[in-house]
Each structure stands twice: as structure tokens, then as C-alpha cells.
């Protein structure tokens, strides 16, 4: 499963993309894994699945080919 990171989240994780070798996972499990791996706080990012933002209170089954993106609002201008 491809995970992409944007903005400040990419700076925290130190990468813009990575492949997670997981099967049969749910969104909550993936977010929980990424949060603990990169010490992310769930208030600080939003999640998109296949380029569609999703509410994190809903648990969603993820397929191997899904692309999960973590992004946050930008402040600068």
C-alpha cells in the first residue's frame, strides 16, 4: 500500500512516500501504526484515500492498491 505525505507531515516523517507491506488492514490500524512510528498527533493531519479526504472517525477497510495520503492545512502566504 502506498502512503504519501505532504507539507509539514512529510517533514516529520522525513519522506514524501513509502510502501507499506500490509494486507487486510483498516484505516484505523494504518493510522495508528503511522502515528506511533512517526510520533504524529491525530489532530495535526487529515487523511485521503485515493485522493478523497475521509473522516478519521469512520473505520474503512483498505485494499492493497489504495493510496493513503496524510496532509495538513498550510498556513503560509
Amino acid at each position: 500500500m502506498r502512503i504519501t505525505y505532504f507539507g509539514e507531515i512529510a517533514d516529520i516523517t522525513g519522506k514524501s512516500t513509502e510502501e507499506l507491506m500490509i494486507k487486510g488492514e483498516t484505516l484505523h490500524e494504518v493510522i495508528s501504526y503511522l502515528s506511533s512510528t512517526y510520533n504524529l498527533t491525530s489532530n495535526d493531519f487529515y487523511v485521503a484515500i485515493n485522493h478523497k479526504l475521509v473522516a478519521m472517525d469512520k473505520d474503512i477497510h483498505l485494499n492493497e492498491n489504495d493510496e493513503v495520503a496524510l496532509l495538513s492545512p498550510f498556513a503560509g502566504g
Partner: protein, 346 residues
């Protein structure tokens, strides 16, 4: 008779004389005359937008000049909005420029927005984006958003033709986010973001192409990768005039030295954030938990809120005021500054 300077764009079948007339009739308010504003403004003016309002309470400084190209060294310490309007009115005398040398607030936003057809969000603070969003909804104005983080930028059009709003894209403000001053920015990145905004503005008035509504475009200028993010739209019934007045009420600020001993110091940082603070009557409730832990906050005492940078204090202030608290203040000092004062005393 339309100005011959627009001949080349009027040659486009999508513009023509009728399109140019639409631009001439349009009134656009640009909130912020910083990096984005400096990119948006010249092109909206050169395209013939009839009335351009610029609101910014900031003054020009040396570190602005690399990306705010309307300004020069002789403009340092002068009002950004007035300087930008003055320079552009020389170059584009047919355009009406209106300068407002003040910051957009809950007190001036609604009256100002009513005088314009469209709002451009060229600010550099996330709190200002919620203010623009909510004022746009109450005055039924579309707004064109852009924001920058280092080499990436986001662009979207909100509240146009019943489209989604900034709150649909980002329902909650993040607890931490860096401005250009903190994160750094290249002039070309912010200029590109501003030009995307200007392009959306022109498309809106010309009624051509496809606006960035109900989706956000994220551009990475290092890879040239563009990603469109769709989001669900919903009607936010809670954005009412009374909600607006309450949410954007002026924040009462107080200095540590002016606080009373019997008041409560409310630290809204997350549990793991340093430095740890030692204060009498100290209470630590992370902002994200404040609403559900309000019972821990006494109602009969003055509340002094602080956090790491001051942003979360403002959100916490709103939460307490919305929940009926009256003697609520944000501390001028951040956690680090309080810690410094404490260590000097001890």
C-alpha cells in the same frame, strides 16, 4: 469603449468584449498584501478587474522584499496595503483601488465583504482563513484560497455556486502549523500560488473553465506533481451571526505580572510538550480535550490561558467563551517565557 490595452485577451473567444465588461464590473477584495497578495494584485489589475480592495494592517520589512515584489527598500515601515495600491494605481489608472490599512477582524469583516463580489484569501495564518470562510458564508461571497508550505501550495475555491467551504475541507484547525516566516519560502512558490488564485478569480467572473470547487489542488513545485483532493461538502448551519460574533470576539490579553493569585493558569498544550511549568493554581488540559473536560475549569475564577505559541490559547479562549465563561484571558507570555520568568524568580 473598452481600453485597447485589453485587446489581446479580448481576442480570446472565451473573453471577448462581454467578458471584459464582466471583469470591469467586478469588485474583488484581497485579504493580505504579502507574498500571495503581491502576486494576485498586479494580474487582477492588469486583466481589468474594475475595483480592487486591499486589506492588510502590516508594514513592509526588509525580509518581505524577496517575494513581495511591489515593494522596495524605500517602502520599509510603510503600510503594505497603501503602498501596493499607490504603485498599482500609477500602472493601472483605470482601476479603482481601495486600501484598508488594518487587519481583518470579526468586527470589520462582514461590512467590508458586503462591498465586494469575491474575496481572495492571501493571508498567512490559519485562524484568518476560518474568519474569511465564516464571513464569506454569512455574506454569501465566494472566496479563492491559497496557502503555502515551503515548496508546496494548496489552492481551492470555496462558497462559489453553493460549493463546499474551507470548513468542509478542514473542519478543525490544526494545533500547530508554520507560517512562511517560520518555515521559509521561495518567492517563486508563493508567486505561483498567487497566480493560480488570480486565474481562478478571472475564470469565476468570465464563467469559463472549471473552478477548483469541492476539491483542493496541491502543487509540489520541486517535483511539479499536482494532486487534486476531493472532499465531502456539507452545510454548516452553526455559522450564524451570533456564532460569528462570539467566535471572533476580541481576545482579552493579559501579562503574567498582571494576573491575580487566585486565578487559574490553564495550559492547553499536549501532555508531552516541554517545558513543564510550575505555577500555583495550574491546570493542564490539552486543547483537543478541553470541551469534554470543561468541568475541571472553575467558573468563578479568572482563567489565564497559555500554550506553546499563542495559537491554541486563542482557540481555547473561544471554547470557554462559547461555553459561558466570562473572565477569560490569553496570556501574552508563551510556556517558554513563563518558564523563563519562573526560573529567574527561583
Amino acid at each position: 469603449m473598452l481600453d485597447r490595452r485589453y485587446t489581446r485577451q479580448m481576442t480570446l473567444p472565451q473573453v471577448g468584449e462581454s467578458g471584459q465588461e464582466k471583469l470591469a464590473q467586478a469588485r474583488v477584495l484581497i485579504v493580505g498584501a504579502g507574498g500571495l497578495g503581491n502576486a494576485v494584485l498586479p494580474y487582477l489589475a492588469s486583466s481589468g478587474i474594475g475595483t480592487l480592495g486591499v486589506i492588510d494592517g502590516d508594514e513592509v520589512s526588509l525580509c518581505n522584499l524577496h517575494r513581495q515584489v511591489l515593494f522596495s527598500e524605500s517602502d520599509i515601515a510603510l503600510s503594505k496595503s497603501e503602498t501596493a495600491c499607490k504603485k498599482l494605481s500609477i500602472q493601472f489608472p483605470a482601476i479603482e483601488f481601495k486600501s484598508y490599512s488594518e487587519f481583518l477582524t470579526g468586527q470589520n469583516a462582514l461590512a467590508l465583504f458586503r462591498n465586494y463580489d469575491l474575496i481572495v484569501d492571501a493571508t498567512d495564518a490559519i485562524e484568518a482563513r476560518y474568519l474569511i470562510n465564516d464571513a464569506s458564508i454569512l455574506t454569501n461571497k465566494p472566496f479563492v484560497h491559497a496557502s503555502v508550505y515551503r515548496f508546496q501550495f494548496q489552492v481551492a475555491v470555496f462558497n462559489a455556486h453553493q460549493s463546499g467551504s474551507y470548513r468542509c475541507l478542514y473542519p478543525l484547525s490544526p494545533t500547530n502549523s508554520q507560517t512562511c516566516a517560520e518555515a521559509g519560502v521561495m518567492p517563486t512558490t508563493v508567486a505561483m500560488a498567487g497566480l493560480y488564485q488570480a486565474n481562478e478569480v478571472l475564470k469565476y467572473f468570465l464563467e469559463i473553465g472549471q473552478l477548483l470547487t469541492n476539491e483542493m489542488l496541491l502543487v509540489d513545485t520541486l517535483t511539479n506533481r499536482q494532486t487534486h483532493f476531493a472532499y465531502d461538502t456539507q452545510h454548516h448551519d452553526f455559522i450564524t451571526p451570533s456564532f460569528f460574533a462570539l467566535t471572533y470576539a476580541p481576545i482579552e490579553k493579559i501579562r503574567l505580572g498582571q494576573t491575580k493569585q487566585i486565578g487559574i493558569f490553564l495550559d492547553v498544550r499536549n501532555d508531552e510538550e516541554l517545558p513543564f511549568i510550575t505555577l500555583e493554581n495550574y491546570l493542564r488540559i490539552p486543547l483537543a480535550s478541553l470541551t469534554i473536560q470543561l468541568s475541571l475549569v472553575p467558573r468563578n475564577k479568572e482563567i489565564y490561558i497559555f500554550c506553546q505559541s499563542g495559537n491554541r490559547s486563542i482557540d481555547a479562549h473561544h471554547i470557554l467563551i462559547e461555553n459561558g465563561y466570562t473572565n477569560v484571558y490569553c496570556l501574552h507570555e508563551t510556556a517558554a517565557q513563563i518558564n523563563q520568568v519562573n526560573s529567574q524568580i527561583s
